[in-house]
């Protein structure tokens, strides 16, 4: 299986590197990496789904907006997701269906509180193997 994501260190915070054969997979894996920091991905069941739309001025900031939208949903509605169908993705708009459930203290262990995705050291590259993105998260 190809690499999906890695977690990297940053002095005050934490970072992720996500991979994808195509850009859709990259966005999906970045979201998975985010939730892997919050709780155990295996502990999340696909009980409901939510359609999300995010827009921004370019691909880099779209990735940040996408992650920030998921962080916002977790902070306010306590929703955890572990499956993402990216239905459409352009340079400045993303439509996705996210599968998961609400946080349940009896079932999920919270690991880290992620508060924001940042532009610091943000990298989104394409190479022969596909796409790769690095994002630092504020905790």
């Amino acid at each position: 299986m190809n690499k999906t994501f890695e977690v990297i260190d940053h002095t005050a915070d934490v970072g992720i590197i996500a991979y994808g054969a195509d850009i859709e997979e990259l966005f999906s894996n970045a979201a998975l990496a985010l939730f892997s920091l919050i709780t155990e991905l295996e502990s999340i069941e696909n009980i409901f789904h939510l359609d999300l739309e995010v827009s921004s001025q370019d691909m880099d900031s779209l990735l940040i907006e996408w992650l920030n939208e998921l962080i916002y949903l977790f902070d306010v509605k306590h929703t955890l997701f572990n499956r993402f169908d990216i239905r459409s993705l352009t340079n400045n708009e993303l439509k996705a269906t996210c599968y998961g459930e609400d946080f349940d203290a009896m079932k999920h262990t919270l690991k880290v509180g992620i508060k924001a995705a940042t532009y610091h050291m943000l990298k989104l590259d394409k190479n022969d193997d596909g796409f790769k993105a690095q994002v630092i998260l504020d905790i």
């Binding site: 260190d9 005050a12 306590h78 504020d138």
Partner: protein
């Protein structure tokens, strides 16, 4: 990570300069407060490059400053200070940070170590029950949407009006606990939704509530004016900020600033430094929104201070007055302020960004509270939970050199991941307990991230600012009981 190879010019044992010609585009030199050993560890990261990058920002005056507790942040380093001329300079949300008005509040008591030590477990449990903390914690105060607008505009007074604290607390809070210019119209629905349930919560990460014992008094006269009279006296230190609310405000406005950078043709070496002219609509909107978040944070610390007093009162069966639980001071250490400073012998209105830095105004300054006019504004410098914290005061030298600013804490040295790999939460807990420090946390594994070895020694940090003269150390206290979110 490559070691930083840039040039540094030694000014004296505590001051080092990054010359303006280090990088084309720097508008002022960088000035770093550090001793030689600290400088070596700063070179291990790209922190000093960030100090140089901040010097690119339009309107910056004086220097781009680095305090001794500096570490690598987003765009701006944490522990950085930069002042921009309001006339033609910029404001940058990155120069404030995500946790707007993260800060510390210090309460004193008339209790002694001998009175508290036998009941520390009971006290910490009471505090843990009474002060909502931890990941996803929700507040005990229910705030309606309408009340939220009032809260954003009134700051700490909003809580005092509801019986959570007194007028006296406001007198010893930076800005009286309310930054002017707050406009709830500049706050997104998202920010409000994140803010409503989290008002009056400690949160997680490096935030804490600590019961401390005074261990050393360096300046008995100044200390006594703050009500710190003897070694063994019990203090309480509260460290928290604006929670998800501040983060959303920062995220929302960074997005606006992204557009502003191209609109105003600002050339930046790092995207996270996104900014807009202070006088532009984008700059003014951010200032108005930032003030809302700053006020939210003051409400937060005001509520927590009140519940702290309640808990002490319950455990010791005495009123908070009888326990002498007065507030010493409350400082913001992530904020931007419009202030007047003297530069090259002329008065200038500047926007001072303090990101992981504390205001340190001297004796006699108009914004130093009346009760501290003679000694200068108290500066509160928390260390990690295994070492100690300091109380200091602002000085005239800080006013002249650093726009009245100084350090804010110990400064992280190890990443959270590296800290977790080097030590386990359970071991940290046991080690601290063996040294007489009681810890209560809702998230044991994350305790490792806050272990002493992850931080610089705050004693070294305070010694640098003391010897450099930008603040003067007054007292030192060690932890006895800690609540970690």
């Amino acid at each position: 990570m490559a070691r930083w190879q840039g040039q540094l010019t030694k000014i004296d044992d505590y001051r080092w300069e990054i010359p303006q010609n280090y990088k084309t585009g720097m508008r002022v030199p960088g000035l770093i407060y550090a001793n030689k050993e600290m400088l070596e560890s700063m070179r291990e990261e790209q922190t000093l490059e960030q100090v140089a990058n901040v010097a690119f920002l339009p309107g910056i005056v004086g220097h781009s400053f680095a305090m001794p507790d500096i570490h690598w942040g987003y765009g701006f380093p944490i522990g950085g200070v930069a002042a921009m001329d309001v006339k033609d300079g910029v404001i940058s949300p990155g120069g404030v940070g995500y946790d707007i008005n993260c800060g510390v509040r210090l309460l004193r008591t008339s209790l002694s170590e001998a009175e508290v030590r036998p009941r520390i477990n009971e006290l910490i449990n009471a505090l843990f029950r009474n002060v909502p903390s931890g990941l996803g914690s929700e507040g005990k105060i229910k705030v309606s949407q309408k009340e939220m607008n009032q809260l954003m505009m009134e700051g700490a007074r909003w809580a005092v009006k509801r019986g959570l604290g007194s007028e006296e607390d406001l007198n010893v809070t930076e800005e009286g606990g309310c930054l002017s210019g707050a406009d709830p119209g500049k706050i997104s629905d998202k920010a409000v939704k994140r803010g409503l349930p989290q008002a009056g919560t400690l949160g997680s990460g490096n935030h804490f509530l600590e019961v401390q014992v005074v261990k050393e008094i360096f300046d008995p006269h100044i200390a006594s004016i703050m009500g710190i009279d003897k070694v063994g006296q019990i203090l309480v230190l509260i460290h928290t900020g604006s929670r998800g609310f501040g983060h959303q405000v920062c995220t929302d406005h960074l997005r606006v600033m992204e557009g502003a950078v191209s609109k105003y043709g600002i050339r930046l070496p790092d995207r996270q430094l996104a900014c807009a002219p202070v006088k532009s609509p984008e700059g003014q909107d951010y200032l108005a929104a930032m003030a809302c978040a700053a006020n939210y944070a003051w409400v937060n610390r005001q509520c927590i201070a009140h519940w702290t007093r309640e808990s002490f009162s319950k455990v010791f069966g005495k009123s908070t007055e009888a326990l002498g639980m007065k507030q010493i001071y409350d400082v913001a250490h992530n904020i931007a302020k419009i202030e007047e400073h003297i530069i090259d012998e002329r008065k200038l209105k500047v926007c001072v960004h303090r990101k992981g830095a504390t205001r340190a105004f001297p004796a006699g300054h108009k914004d130093t509270p009346t009760c501290y006019k003679e000694i200068g504004q108290p500066v509160l410098v928390p260390g990690d939970m295994g070492r100690c914290s300091f109380v200091a005061v602002g000085t005239e030298k800080a006013m002249v050199e650093t726009f009245g600013s100084t350090c804010h804490g110990a400064g992280r040295m190890l990443s959270r991941g590296a800290a977790r790999r080097s030590v386990k939460g359970q071991d940290v807990l046991q080690e601290l307990e063996s040294r007489g420090i009681t810890i209560k946390t809702g998230n044991l594994p994350s305790l490792a991230e806050e272990a002493s070895q992850a931080y610089k020694d705050v004693t070294d940090v305070i010694d640098v600012v003391h010897h450099a003269g930008i603040s003067r150390k007054v007292a030192m206290a060690i932890p006895m009981g800690v609540i970690k979110g």
